[in-house]
Amino acid sequence: MKLIFERSIKGRDGYSLRADLFDEVSIKDCIPDYAAIDAKKNLSEVSEVDVVRHFTKLSKFNYGVDDGLYPLGSCTMKYNPKVNEKLASLDNFIYAHPLAPDETVQGCLEIMYELNKLFCEITGVDQYTMAPAAGAHGELTGNLIMRKYFGDRGEKRYKMLVPDSAHGTNPASAAMSSFKMVEVKSNEKGTVDIQQLDEVMDGDTAGLMLTNPNTVGLYDERIQDIEKIVHGKGGLLYYDGANLNASLGIIRPGDAGFDIVHLNLHKTFSTPHGGGGPGAGVIGVKEFLIPYLPTPIVTFDGKKYHLSDAGEKSIGMVRAFWANFAVLVKTYAWILSMGPDGLCSVCEASVINANYVLAKLKKYYRPAYDRYCGHECVITGRDYKKYGVTTLDIAKRLMDYGIHPSTIYFPHFEPCAQETMMIEPPESESKEVLDEFIDTMIKISNEAKTNPELLKSAPHTTPIRRTDDVTAARRPILNYDDELNVKDELK
């Protein structure tokens, strides 16, 4: 498909401005010579019609949750309610300037204040910051809080424990906070190896980053022992909220002993992923850590809401302004729509969905762990290797049937590192949708045995076929001008 630059026609335009351009003001009086340009910047020249058709066409090359099942493990690709989009785009919200006087933004502040209360109740902690823009940003904020907290206590804890099953963001966040990352092994059941945890947890260790259910979708039966070990040796427990969907209403991380909790609003709380964001990664803490939260905190004096400074112990700001506010509005609307029973139903339905897929597919794809799962299940394609078929081939073949593949090659650590597929069918998926997915997966398992070539050459029906990633990395073409240069070189 053409790039927008290839649709450009000299002299064409698609913008609309007032006629009065303050012509009497001379540009020479505004811009000093050292900053003045001699030619307009080289953007495309297209009409509004061209733009609308171009992007409509582009959108058709994408697959979204509204197109069908999107069973990416650990991504919680649930349905994004439409009313929430409308509410987040009310004029009074979208035109609210972040530095407008407090008295003009009482509605925004009320939502942030109320949302804090809801999050605290749902997760069993005492105060949230709405600042972090994504899960990893929340992790960084949490790690910086731990660092500052121990620093203030004069404790030199320089290590951070991260399970081998953790998402890459956990070790990366610990490293960004200058912690030395120490890996905790999983046992054959897929959960934390308690004995090893006891060995590595020591007085130099700030804490443990963990999810529950963990990153392979399994509830850790020994979560209480984990808590005792980490707290017993003076460490803190950090809860990665990637998998909160399977805890809503049945486990409150704060009750389970977690000191810092992050929530992925774009996962559990139904806000859309937008092709990679924006989401929000708010974090909540127990009371003793409140002084360390980033500025600001929304307070209420009985009459008015205020954006208040977090105080001198605060780690400082982690971004400009206050929050991904538009994402907060959608989250607020979703929680109000669900209510306490609805949140429990989310957990129940997602756990049943995942176990249903596991039960139906385990005959065809050997499961990584032979036990019930949380909201996602891990199966493998390892038995198809003898036909020359990999999990990647299976994933690509699914596309031919109009279904987005699951997360693949995660988990990638022992004992089940091989050919994994992590499937998360959130509560918004119905039995019929899952049955179609299951039938398709079974069909593909037969194809793998009888016609492996069909899988290896898949996908066949998508807008494009498999891509040459090696050349992309070896000879990077990172914008259209690079492409033009490469063409010139080849001439």
């Binding site: 900053a35 530095l99 992790e139 049945i250 139904s270 780690i315 987005h404």
Partner: protein, 447 residues
């Protein structure tokens, strides 16, 4: 529940197929000690009509912001967002898709990122662009970390005319790495070159300068870069008002090493502070130290031109603790927004809108000075924001403006404690303010 389709009967059927009798059997891994048994103390579910009413009521507690034109910028600018962009952005294929890990099903997102990378490369005259970090402040912090890795030095010079939130964010991100931080003072609203000469040395990894700076001032980046480079120090150019790129000389043409920008002005609403979109643009030789996702062009097996995420060996899901950053989810949809915006504005439109911003600001400054109620703080070249000291009390100025549906300018003393900044206001003007609006502002404030 309308968002949870399975019926009770289907649930029973599924439990039976799993081989259990109840949901409780499936969560046997949850020890009773941590099982939450009560009912969450949050409001009972409400219907969609009730929800709409409730949130509308809450929104009404804000001022009527559609009608309230801002005289404030300070890192968040109200520019006109074309309806065609808003309409296109609502397409579910953009909204409800995930990070483009499967290129066969994500060419829309990938091509859009590639196009935006091209736009920014051209606007900044840099080789490579990371299209999405969270915002301008965190992008600046990432750029600072990048400079430490690139130079193996541990000192950082930060302009005092860098947005205060950006400065704080940089400090937060850098705290664990305990760099030596030197604040670079300003002289008449711009970086004090003489002071920069004194503080720059072989230990300095970078100097971070915002341009246009927090006061709206247009810095002489060529001169700054020459000075920094003489000591092997990198120059990070933070840009909070990217609209300026339509009119001002590109950072790459002035010697800047890393541009850390905020793309909010390219088609993003104010949204009370977010989500916006941070970006980085730099030279090819620094590519491998960049944080975050980048899209490259390649071919599929049929030889068709296609787009994929590339140079992935820098990222957290592959390199874990050795990654250049922990960033994963970013602000992808905002990239599409900015791409559509820049496409609509195009070569002529971006130039014109950028031009009218600076002209409107200069027009307003002149009117306010003429009123006799304001005086200059600095004699400096500025883009679309400028400082003026009010002779009347700031609270009266604010009150009058609010009464007349203008969001007041920023009181600079909120961030700068010097005595001379008492009563000083940071005004912004963009294309959303008409000549009549500006005349009205001047009239109200001269009474």
């Amino acid at each position: 529940m309308r968002y949870i389709p399975n019926t009770e009967e289907q649930k029973e059927e599924m439990l039976k197929d799993i081989g259990v009798t109840s949901f409780e059997d499936l969560i046997e891994g949850v020890p009773t000690g941590v099982r939450f048994k009560g009912k969450l103390n949050i409001p009972e579910a409400i219907s969609e009509p009730e929800l709409e009413e409730k949130v509308y009521e809450t929104a009404k507690k804000n001022s009527d912001f559609f009608l309230m034109k801002p005289l404030i910028g300070a890192g968040a600018y109200r520019h006109y967002v074309p309806q065609a962009e808003k309409f296109l952005l609502q397409r579910e294929e953009f909204w409800t898709s995930y990070t483009p890990y499967q290129p066969e099903l994500s060419q829309g997102t990938l091509q859009s990122m590639f196009e935006f990378q091209t736009y920014l490369a051209r606007l900044t005259k840099m080789d490579v662009v990371i299209p999405s970090l969270y915002d301008g402040a965190s992008a600046t912090a990432e750029a600072a970390l990048m400079s430490l890795r690139l130079t193996h030095r541990n000192g950082i010079i930060i302009s005092a005319a860098l947005h205060p939130h950006y400065r704080e964010t940089v400090a937060t991100y850098l705290a664990p790495h305990s760099p030596k931080v030197i604040e670079l003072p300003y002289q008449d609203g711009l970086v004090d070159i003489a002071k920069m000469k004194e503080s720059i040395n072989d230990d300095m990894a970078c100097v971070i300068v915002q341009n246009p700076n927090f006061f709206g001032g247009i810095e002489n980046m060529t001169e700054l870069c020459g000075l920094a480079h003489s000591k092997g120090t990198l120059v990070i150019n933070a840009i909070a008002e990217s609209m300026s790129l339509g009119l001002l000389k590109a950072p790459g043409g002035m010697g800047v090493d890393i541009v850390a920008g905020e793309a909010q002005s390219f088609g993003m609403d104010l949204n009370f502070g977010g989500p916006y979109d941070g970006y980085l643009a730099t030279k090819k030789q620094f590519l491998r130290q960049l944080p975050g996702r980048i899209v490259g062009e390649t071919k599929d097996i049929d030889g068709k031109r296609v787009f994929v995420m590339t140079m992935r060996a820098r990222e957290q899901d592959i390199r874990r603790e050795k990654a250049t950053s922990n960033i994963c989810s970013n602000h992808g949809l905002n990239v599409t927004a900015a791409n559509i915006y820049l496409s609509l504005m195009g070569r002529e439109g971006l130039y014109q809108v950028s031009l009218v911003n600076t002209k409107a600001a200069h027009y307003l400054e002149k009117l306010l000075l003429k009123s006799g109620k304001f005086e200059k703080v600095f004699d400096y070249p500025f883009y679309n924001e400028f400082l003026l000291k009010s002779k009347n009390s700031v609270s009266i100025v604010n009150e009058k403006l609010l009464e007349n549906n203008f969001i007041p300018p920023l009181e600079i003393s909120k961030f700068y404690k010097e005595e001379r900044f008492r009563g000083v206001l940071l005004f912004a003007a963009t294309e959303v303010l008409s000549r009549e609006d500006l005349n009205k502002v001047a009239k109200i404030l001269s009474e």
